[in-house]
């Protein structure tokens, strides 16, 4: 196609010369440069807030490697844009924040560079699970873990106290509490099943012991419609069918209103929840408490993750080495890790996180053990493997579970898993991946 449009494109290129905003990586040199005194500028796509301030700390110390932050709208749009840019052959940033579940997709699209030579030595600074997320079990390193999102449970202490309840230790206790709260006040719900948040459901399946994708030899395996996930789906479907928890999506004005007026009195979420609660229901400050997740088996506590991301170098970067240096600094240097926690409000993946997270988040100022609970949860994280078509599975989740939640039938919840499984496997096969089983 390139030659076909050559005259036209030449005209357009001429027009491009007049713009000062042409992207930084459209330069002509495609070779890796090694001159240490060469000035390079790198673009960095991230959606974490205030990341420009973190980058400013690096820029002050590294006049030859200047990083410019381009704030993105969130994980999905950023990945969408990156994949389109990769397909187009230009337009990608040098450095990219990538959620763990997107890494196989991005690697499969040849979007992420292997930076094992520059960042491989950081392995011991991160939990094994997080490190596995950036290596996909291979010798390559497709990024450095930035933050993690261990699941935790949040609840309105005042409402629990009024109903004579304490934080549920098991899912059975959660169900009992949900019923009791809703009976006492039919407007109140302990939670909602949100069909728009596939990430949370994945975390819950992870906690129950599921791992939806796997590698068998040179083939992918898919296990979404399997007993552990079925247990989770049947559990939430049962609660929705009984009507003791809500069936409306989270992150809507409606949900915000429910958090504000005290009718949504609990939230199964992750370590970053305080920021969302503060932004959504500021006036309820002081009424919330954090606890460890309810368990399937209290004797063998486990958690899953919701969110969490790595920082990667893209294959289109002209300065992969310098980019890898920044990525390593950002996620392992004590000063940077502190800035990540304080400025960007993320829960750093680094093992050193505990030493910088000394005081609880502002919204939970009274709960001194907040980060102790989070650290404990991090350790209990179950292993989980993501595949190269997570987005397909997630959008199948949105559609199937959206219908199921609307129907309020527990059977529809478990049937949705069959749909997800089929859609995911069909997509892999259609693209030509080897699929086991």
């Amino acid at each position: 196609m390139k030659t076909k449009y050559a005259p036209l494109m030449a005209a357009l290129t001429a027009a491009a010369l007049f713009t000062g905003t042409a992207c930084s990586n459209s330069g002509s040199s495609s070779e890796q440069t090694t001159d240490p005194n060469e000035k390079v500028s790198l673009t960095y796509w991230t959606w974490a807030p205030n990341m420009d301030k973190v980058a400013a700390a690096w820029n002050a110390k590294n006049p030859n490697i200047q990083v410019t932050v381009n704030k993105q709208d969130g994980g999905d749009p950023a990945v969408t844009k990156l994949l389109t840019a990769i397909k187009a052959g230009s337009g990608a940033p040098d450095i990219m924040q990538a959620e763990y579940q997107k890494i196989p997709t991005l690697v499969s699209a040849d979007a992420l560079a292997d930076i094992a030579a520059d960042a491989g030595s950081l392995k011991d600074k991160f939990p094994a699970g997080a490190w596995n997320g950036v290596t996909l079990g291979s010798d390559a390193v497709y990024g450095v873990p930035q933050d993690s999102g261990p699941l935790m449970f949040f609840y309105r202490a005042d409402v629990f106290e009024k109903n004579g309840l304490s934080a549920p230790k098991t899912w059975d206790e959660y169900a009992t509490a949900a019923e009791k709260i809703h009976k006492a006040n039919p407007k109140q719900y302990l939670g909602t099943f949100s069909a728009t948040d596939a990430g949370l459901f994945t975390g819950l399946a992870q906690q129950a012991g599921a791992s939806w994708w796997g590698v068998q030899g040179d083939a992918w395996s898919v296990a979404i419609d399997e007993p552990n996930t079925q247990k989770v789906a049947a559990y939430w479907g049962g609660l929705v069918e009984k009507g003791v928890i809500d069936n409306k999506p989270m992150y809507t004005p409606e949900w915000n209103a429910a958090l504000n007026d005290g009718t949504q009195v609990g939230w199964v979420s992750a370590v970053w929840a305080p920021g969302v609660l503060e932004g959504s229901a500021k006036d309820t400050k002081g009424k919330w408490k954090a606890a460890a997740m309810p368990q399937w088996d209290a004797a063998a506590p486990a958690t899953g993750a919701w969110g969490g991301s790595a920082t990667s170098v893209t294959t289109q970067s002209k300065h992969k080495k310098q980019a890898a240096q920044f990525v390593s600094w950002l996620n392992s240097d004590p000063e940077a890790v502190k800035l990540l926690a304080t400025e960007a409000s993320v829960y750093p993946a680094s093992n050193d996180a505990a030493s910088v997270l000394t005081s609880p988040p502002a919204f939970f100022a009274d709960q001194a053990d907040y980060y102790a609970i989070a650290a404990e949860a991090s350790k209990q994280m179950k292993p989980f493997t993501y595949g190269p078509n997570v987005n397909v599975a997630y959008s199948a989740f949105n559609d199937a579970f959206g219908k199921a939640a609307e129907s309020k039938k527990a059977s529809a919840f478990t049937e949705s898993l069959t749909t997800m499984q089929k859609t995911t496997v069909d997509d892999l096969k259609n693209a030509g991946f080897n699929v086991a089983g």
Partner: protein, 279 residues
């Protein structure tokens, strides 16, 4: 006579009802943007509050006034895009209306077909083609595609046919004026009213466009307002949506267009079928 009065009262009532329906969301956003973030989700929906200026200050303070940069970008995209598109449409419309030349009807039919092509379908291949020349994520990526408006050409052709008498062109030629001078000094002024309409159409189309800039731009300092607001709303799971900023931003973003409508309303009288602008 009383029957007629009754009828006209019904007519007035119906019109006011229609106006109320159309104004309801605007009234809502006006009230909502006067509320603090807590009030937005707790007080009665149509009860106004007093925080409009706080909200505006918060909005202006968001990442060093990024919101105003989005507004300026939008004005640039819509203003420059619509101006260029109007001129290009005027030239093409004039040629199609006032000249006979081989291929004329083919050109016109192709442009008519272009009116029917959805912009959303074009956005992805446009991105891939622009990326091949490294122009994505620049102002040009949004500006250049907005320079061409088949609909604007179609309208300009109608206006040129209706408002530029052939005799005057001939007189100008006999006076020895070149075609370009005739176009600039005679044709453009005569088509002025119609061209303002073409300009307004394209201005609104670019102002309201979401898909193209959403795909083309990675740097949020280049965003127009629609993409920027969408970003504030969808911050990803671990960030709260900035509803107060979104609501206030939505209100502020529609004010310039409302002002444009009020000042130029006489140009909004386009007869799509018969082709004249009754000003």
């Amino acid at each position: 006579m009383s029957l007629k009065k009754g009828r006209s009262k019904t007519a007035t009532a119906l019109l006011l009802l229609g106006a109320a329906y159309c104004l309801l969301p605007v009234l809502w956003v006006l009230i909502a943007s006067s509320k603090s973030s807590g009030e937005l989700f707790s007080t009665f929906t149509l009860a106004p509050s007093t925080h409009l200026f706080d909200n505006l200050a918060d909005l202006s303070g968001y990442r060093d006034g990024l919101y105003w940069r989005w507004m300026a970008n939008t004005a640039l995209y819509a203003g420059v895009g619509a101006a260029a598109s109007t001129l290009i449409s005027a030239m093409a419309g004039f040629a199609l209306a006032k000249f006979d030349f081989p291929g004329k009807s083919a050109v016109f039919n192709v442009i008519l077909a272009g009116v029917l092509v959805p912009g959303v379908l074009l956005a992805i291949p446009q991105y891939l083609l622009l990326a091949k020349v490294g122009m994505t994520n620049t102002y040009w990526a949004v500006l250049l595609p907005s320079f061409i408006s088949p609909y604007g050409i179609y309208l300009a052709r109608i206006f040129a046919a209706a408002s530029v008498p052939t005799e005057i062109l001939e007189a100008s030629r006999i006076d020895g004026a070149g075609d370009w001078r005739t176009f600039g000094t005679v044709v453009l002024p005569m088509m002025r009213t119609g061209l303002v309409t073409v300009f307004l159409f394209q201005f609104v189309a670019v102002w309201n466009n979401f898909m193209l800039p959403y795909i083309m731009l990675g740097d949020d300092r280049l965003y127009p307002i629609t993409v920027g607001l969408n970003g504030l709303l969808n911050q990803g799971a671990n960030q709260p949506a900035m509803y107060t900023a979104v609501v206030t931003g939505a209100l502020v973003s529609i004010i310039p267009l409302i002002a444009l409508f009020l000042t130029l309303q006489r140009y909004w009288q386009v007869d799509l079928a018969a082709g004249g602008v009754k000003a």
